[in-house]
Amino acid sequence: MGVIDKVASGKVLVSDGAWGTFLQKKGLAVGACPEAWCLDCPDDVLAIAASYIDAGADMIQTNSFGASRFKLEHFGLAHRAQEINEAAAAISRRAAGPDRHVIASVGPTGKMLLMGDVTAEQLYDAFREQVVALENGGAEAICVETMSAIDEACLAVRAARENTNCEVLCTFTFEKTANNDYRTMMGVSPAEMAPAVIDAGAHIIGANCGNGMERMIDIVKELRSVHGSIPVLVHANAGLPVLKDGENVFPETPADMAARTPALVNAGTNIVGGCCGTTPAHIAAIRAAVDAISG
């Protein structure tokens, strides 16, 4: 049974937490390529994946957020995109085992179609290369995430739908504006994002990153206002980091995020997980909160 069927059966599911900030804790140097660790330090990557499974996540992501050829080329690794993505998916598959799901991460390329940096064909080809390799490595779903532009997100969703048999998730990153509404940096609102990515073929939509769980509740309400039935996933940051003694600390504790989980589910969220600053302890607390709702 895939993620979509489980949601359709009425279950609220739990996803995983942060990867990037977790890799840094394990010693990833600032400015180094996180995805290269899939090849160079696979045991550390596996340990992260396994820690979220142990925390009770129903699904985990992969260390492939920046593994498009456009991002990898900053590190001279564009030619290894296929290898890195396959390894990323294989590591998470190994941790997930047969019963949990691997929803493979695909982040933005950093290129803007609007500026003529790249053509739509070039972006589509890069996403196709990435998603095909992720499926070959063992991913059963593709999670297109942290998107802000509709055109780029839709190309990634289409590349996944047209070239793999994976279920496709798509989440955007919204910020609260001075006018008290939610927009991506490209100006896209949740109500505009939903129909566009659903039309491109996304099975599951949602939001990730951002400023804490409280605001995700408003964002989900807006998504629900335009679509009643599509499964909705939230990967929330543990708030915005504050600098304490030269180190960044994310303010929301596991208990804070668990306390807000019922409201997030009531607003219409089907899958709850974390983004930057969340840890296995956050996911374990969210798991307990979800189990308490489901009874």
């Binding site: 900030t21 840094q24 140097a29 600032v30 400015g31 900053h74 950093g110 803007m112 609007l114 500026m115 802000s148 504006t177 001075a178 006018n179 927009r183 991506t184 940096m185 490209m186 100006g187 915005l240 980091p241 600098l243 030269g246 960044n248 930057c276």
Partner: protein
Amino acid sequence: MSEILEQIATCVERGKINAASPYPPDMKGQEGADELTRKAIDGGTAPTDILEKALVVGMQKIGEKFAANKVFVPDVLMAAKSMNAAMAHLRPFFQSGEVKRKGVFCIGTVQGDLHDIGKNLVSMIVEGGGWEVVDLGVDVSTEKFIEAVEQHPGCAVGLSALLTTTMINMEKTVKALKEKTPGTKVLIGGAPLTQEFCTKIGADCYSADPQGAVEYLNKLAA
């Protein structure tokens, strides 16, 4: 203000590059910043007036709207493209010294950080504010920032960071700049930054949006 200067300012603000550009849809087929600037120069308008009374005005309007979340990244990018089309006609006058800018602003994304969208937005708005901008790119080391200040004595410096992990590198660069080139004004910006962080690391200005950076720089030049 003459009519053509107002038209150019509007083209910059709305992101109308040239007659061939389909954007914005309601100005389709009309002349853009490119053609109108050429016309203005050929008609005898002073290039300094084109910079100060058209380009700066248009970019200031879009910068203010961006700061108020009334427009978003794509709108600023289109405005900058249209400003660049006009700037191309002014370049000979910069080179001859006929048109003077307010000063030099060297900007880069700090070491370990490859994100350039925020840095580019600030570059565009500051250039549109009448400054000469030297873009040092991404992943810029402290040494490269110092080198840039030595090449452009008296310039102001902008440091950008998107990541919570790289913003911490700013402190080192700010300290080194203040030590090697005392008096250099350092501006910092980026999503995870705050005024508190700016004060703590000894930088001179933090702004949440590009417009705040221009306003600070303009005060320095005044």
